[in-house]
């Protein structure tokens, strides 16, 4: 495989397809988009198959330094990036499939917007140049703004503005920090910057600037308010890609920038992350409990899950970081699938109000089974992907702070409460309305959308090693890098140094 620019090809396919799409009819645009995303999926599988586990840290490297003058075109992936790219290319064909019938107006533009989004997501994860990363990261605003604004729900204009301005304000501060870093280190190469020791007093400011961006993307409480609006108004596939991949940019950012580049500042500000995350877990779970709108409920649950990611990342140990990555992957699959489940019944009844449904297990048994599986995965039932990640993440956090772990674990209980409550109201009980009774079960197309996700969710739950193995070395490197600043945990029995025999 050496020499073949597979990452560039993965970027080129959606780009070309997007340009061609605009000139096609609705139906050809659908097929072209599906073909292009499937081609990228195949390339993604090839990428994974050729990824040398335990090999060099950065693989499939392509470098054209200074192609753009002050910054270059440099691509390359490690285990983290590989997993997130896989998540993107896996969800993309599903998004196209989910929009097959639901989107009827301006289909070519819609497909082009999704293909551009795919290009930008892969680019963000694969970029090895600071500013190339920023370009991809920030450019994602444009297609997402259009997707929400053109094909969204009734209140789409407000949601699109909020999404755009919120995320832009977060990112521009990060941009200034990047300029400073490039000036200080004299390079824009991310692997080099990850080994650069920035002065400790500057680290705090840089960390806060990056935090402003990633916290909004993540999203963390209290800057999460754009997410429910954006989710509720976006079309189904838009929600899938938003929850599935775009939210992962925040976590990836912490992993790639905040922790390895500013370890001291990360350690100093861990209290901030832990505090906000603990509030997020409990508060947003309670908010989710009282939602009447299905999409809003899942959106709030996303915020809670992302808080589990952040505490795991800032545990500074292997379990925490591996767990966070798995929560991100699992949440990408599960919340994407849940949004698809909402989309399935929304397409039939055109409402997301929970109280309008009920008793769907009677007339939609196949739907009810799959929905049940994803509900359980979201709760974190052992055997599903959700369990592995949350357990590892909380396990890692426990070594650092028992109190925060205690608080955040309540989130799992609350999560069970709101998800089971949602499931009961939708799938169980008697059918009281005629229009609900008339709803047909999953079509073949819908089954094909949900079944692959279900398979991967179970795979990840039963044998997570497949997903952990590519990341193992990178986690090791990251832990070694941050160990210089890692805080002391409170879970070990404290032994006063002078009275060694005190116990």
């Amino acid at each position: 495989m050496s020499g073949f620019p597979i990452l560039s090809v993965m970027l080129a396919i959606p780009t070309i397809a997007a340009i061609v799409c605009v000139f096609l009819s609705a139906n050809s645009a659908r097929w072209l988009a599906l073909a292009a995303t499937l081609a990228d999926l195949v390339l993604g599988v090839v990428l994974w198959a050729n990824f040398e586990i335990g090999g060099p840290e950065w693989q499939f490297v392509e470098r054209h330094d200074h192609l753009f003058g002050v910054f270059g075109y440099a691509l390359g992936i490690d285990g983290f990036a590989l997993m997130l790219i896989m998540l993107s290319v896996f969800l993309m064909p599903i998004c196209i499939g989910a929009s097959w019938r639901a989107i009827e107006t301006r289909v070519p533009e819609y497909m082009a917007a999704f293909l551009i989004t795919e290009l930008l997501m892969i680019g963000t994860f694969a970029a090895q140049d600071l500013f190339l990363f920023y370009v991809f990261f920030e450019a994602g605003l444009i297609p997402m703004y259009l997707i929400i604004g053109i094909w969204g729900g009734a209140n789409r204009i407000y949601a699109s503005y909020k999404f755009f301005l919120y995320t832009l304000l977060g990112s521009v501060l990060m941009f200034i920090a990047m300029l400073w870093m490039a000036h200080y280190a004299g390079t824009t190469d991310i692997p080099t910057l990850m080994q650069t020791d920035f002065p400790v007093h500057a680290q705090t400011w840089l960390w806060l600037a990056f935090f402003a961006s990633f916290a909004v993307k993540m999203p963390m409480w209290p800057v999460h308010t754009w997410l429910p609006d954006a989710h509720v108004q976006a079309p189904t596939a838009g929600s899938v890609i938003l929850a599935g991949v775009l939210l992962k940019l925040g976590g990836y950012g912490f992993l790639r920038f905040s922790l390895p580049m500013f370890p001291q500042a990360s350690a100093q500000l861990t209290w901030l992350i832990f505090g906000l995350s603990a509030v997020a877990v409990i508060y947003t779970s309670l908010v989710a409990l009282v939602q009447q709108d299905m999409k809003k409920l899942i959106a709030y649950s996303s915020v809670a899950h992302m808080a589990i990611v952040t505490i795991g990342l800032f545990a500074f140990n292997r379990q925490g970081i591996e767990g966070s990555m798995l929560v991100m992957l699992s949440h990408g699959l599960v919340s994407g699938a849940l949004f698809l489940c909402v989309g399935v019944i929304y397409d039939r009844l055109h409402t997301r109000e929970i109280s309008r449904y009920g008793g769907l297990s009677i007339n939609m048994p196949r739907y009810a089974v799959l929905f049940m599986l994803f509900t359980m995965a979201s709760i974190g039932l052992p055997g599903t992907s959700g369990f592995v990640g949350e357990f590892l993440s909380l396990n890692g956090t426990y070594q650092v702070s028992t109190w925060i772990t205690l608080l955040c674990t309540t989130g799992i209980i609350l999560g069970a409460a709101y998800m089971l409550y949602l499931y009961r109201r939708i799938a169980f009980g008697e059918i009281t309305r005629d229009d609900v009774r008339a709803m047909p079960d999953l079509s073949v197309r819908e089954l094909w959308l949900l079944a692959p996700i279900a398979a991967v969710v179970l795979w990840m739950g039963v044998y997570p090693e497949s997903f952990l193995a590519p990341m193992r070395n990178d986690v090791g490197a990251l832990v070694a890098r941050v160990s210089q600043a890692a805080p002391v945990g409170d879970s070990q029995p404290t032994m006063p140094a002078t009275h060694g025999e005190a116990r």
Binding site: R106, F131, V135, Y145, I150, S160, Y161, V172
Partner: protein, 482 residues
């Protein structure tokens, strides 16, 4: 230096002014019939002046005993000016055909040429007096151009307003020049710089500096001297507005940079405060005031004020990198602005009458998808959202500011840029999210369509490939001042 050598160095301005004079005679005898011919000849003349820059005129020499600098900095600015002037000429015939009763007259291209000659003098000025003469030549042509639609009261008002306010600013500038001359004993930039180096905090020199910058701030329409811009932009005929928003902006900003660096370089710490203040105010007022606008030309006027604020960030850095970033900003800004005005030019109802309300853009993506796509690219580019090329313009100036240690400026500036992105995305919202308004009339001009496409491609991500070449060129131009 012999007189002949000097004349050779100033060749572009000579080409422009001699041709303008000859074409004026053609216009006088040929009358209305000569319009098209004069227009095309004028474009050729601009091209010729551009070619002349390849010769001794771009060599870096000084002509007329230091009054005139034919350096790389001037050449770069002139290239931009000539491009903008040529585009403004191309736009004109199609526009004036559709106005009620105001025909394009052959004086229009002549005035543009004279204005371009004046701007060439401005950016090449090596002396406070050359500066002033160039500025006035450009301004006098501009007043007439603003009121070119004689039967349109708004156009006449624009011209008058521009004339009165601009004269006031020229007065302020002249007063500053007189103070500088009085306290330094010379009007030569190098001599002035020596005076500032020797006795920088003399009260007269400080006052002179403040007045000169106030006068220049008016010409580049930086806040708080921006009041005239929206009114003049709204009233002037659209091709003239496109011209005002591009060429004179480049000339005046380049002039401000040259004065700041060459003449007042030793007093950098003093003028930097003024520039920072004007820059932040321009960014914020340019962003906030634009939100309430309903006329597209007024909106673009505030957008130009906003953009000048960003360009001034590069000047505030006061380093070669900063100056290069200003030039880079101007080059990209020209493409975005001219492109936007080419779109505005196509906003016509079915009878061909110009429409200028933002509301009329509603649903443009359904009625005219290509035009909407182009305008969307310009808007996102002006907002500085990657991957469009407008992002790199901001990248360059902010990079220069951060490298010069001006963090607070960079942080405030970039945070305020979020405000301005609001009104740009509001236009996109109108075109893409709203239900269609009555469709515009068909566009027939192939030339304008071609120019629009070129501008759109220039600000597309493909533009990034031009960065190494453009970066080297702007850096060479900036080094000429240090």
């Amino acid at each position: 230096m012999s007189y002949a050598a000097s004349l050779l160095l100033a060749l572009p301005e000579e080409i422009l002014s001699v041709s303008a004079t000859l074409l004026m005679l053609v216009a006088a005898w040929g009358g209305q019939r000569a319009t098209r011919a004069v227009t095309w000849v004028s474009i050729a003349v601009l091209l010729g002046a551009g070619i002349a820059l390849l010769g001794p005129a771009g060599s870096g020499g000084e002509a007329f005993y230091g009054l005139y600098h034919a350096d790389a900095f001037a050449s770069f600015a002139k290239v931009l000016i000539y491009i903008a002037a040529a585009v403004a000429l191309t736009m004109a015939p199609g526009f004036f055909e559709r106005t009620s009763g105001d025909d394009l007259r052959p004086e229009y291209p002549v005035l543009i040429l004279l204005s371009a000659a004046g701007m060439g003098m401005m950016v090449s000025a090596g002396d406070l007096l050359t500066l002033y003469v160039g500025l006035e030549l450009q301004n006098l042509a501009a007043y007439v151009l603003a009121s070119f639609m004689r039967r349109d009261t708004r156009s006449a008002e624009a011209g008058l307003k521009y004339f009165v306010l601009s004269s006031l600013a020229s007065g302020i500038l002249l007063y500053g020049i007189s103070l500088v001359y009085g306290f330094s004993g010379t009007t030569d930039f190098a001599g002035v710089a020596q005076a500032y180096a020797a006795n920088g905090h003399a009260i007269g020199l400080m006052f002179g500096l403040v007045f000169v910058f106030a006068g220049l701030a008016f010409k580049i329409s930086a806040v708080p001297f921006h009041m005239w811009t929206p009114d003049v932009y709204e009233g002037a005929p659209t091709p003239v507005t496109a011209f005002f928003a591009s060429a004179p902006k480049v000339a005046a900003l380049a002039l401000a940079v040259r004065v700041a660096i060459s003449a007042m370089g030793p007093a950098t710490d003093d003028w930097r405060q003024i520039v920072i203040c004007a820059s932040l105010l321009s960014i914020i007022i340019g962003a906030v005031a634009a939100i309430g606008q309903s006329n597209i030309k007024r909106l673009l006027a505030y957008s130009s004020i906003n953009n000048v604020g960003f360009a001034l960030i590069g000047l505030a850095a006061g380093t070669p990198q900063g100056v290069a970033s200003v030039l880079m900003y101007l080059a990209i800004y020209i493409a975005m602005t001219l492109g936007s005005f080419l779109v505005v030019l196509r906003m016509r109802d079915h009878e061909g009458k110009p429409v200028e309300t933002i509301a009329s853009l509603a649903g443009l993506s359904k009625t005219r998808p290509g035009l909407a796509l182009a305008f969307m690219l310009f808007m996102f580019s002006l907002a500085g959202i990657p991957p469009l090329f407008g992002f790199y313009a901001k990248f360059a100036v902010f990079s220069a500011a951060v490298n010069a240690g001006l963090f607070p400026l960079a942080v405030f500036g970039i945070a305020a840029s979020v405000i301005s992105s609001f009104y740009y995305i509001r236009i996109v919202k109108g075109m893409y999210f709203d239900d269609p308004a009555p469709a515009y009339g068909p566009a027939d001009s192939v030339v304008e369509g071609g120019l629009l496409t070129i501008a759109a491609v220039a600000i597309s991500p493909l533009g990034y490939l031009a960065i190494p070449a453009l970066g080297a060129w702007t850096m060479a131009a900036a080094k000429a001042l240090f």
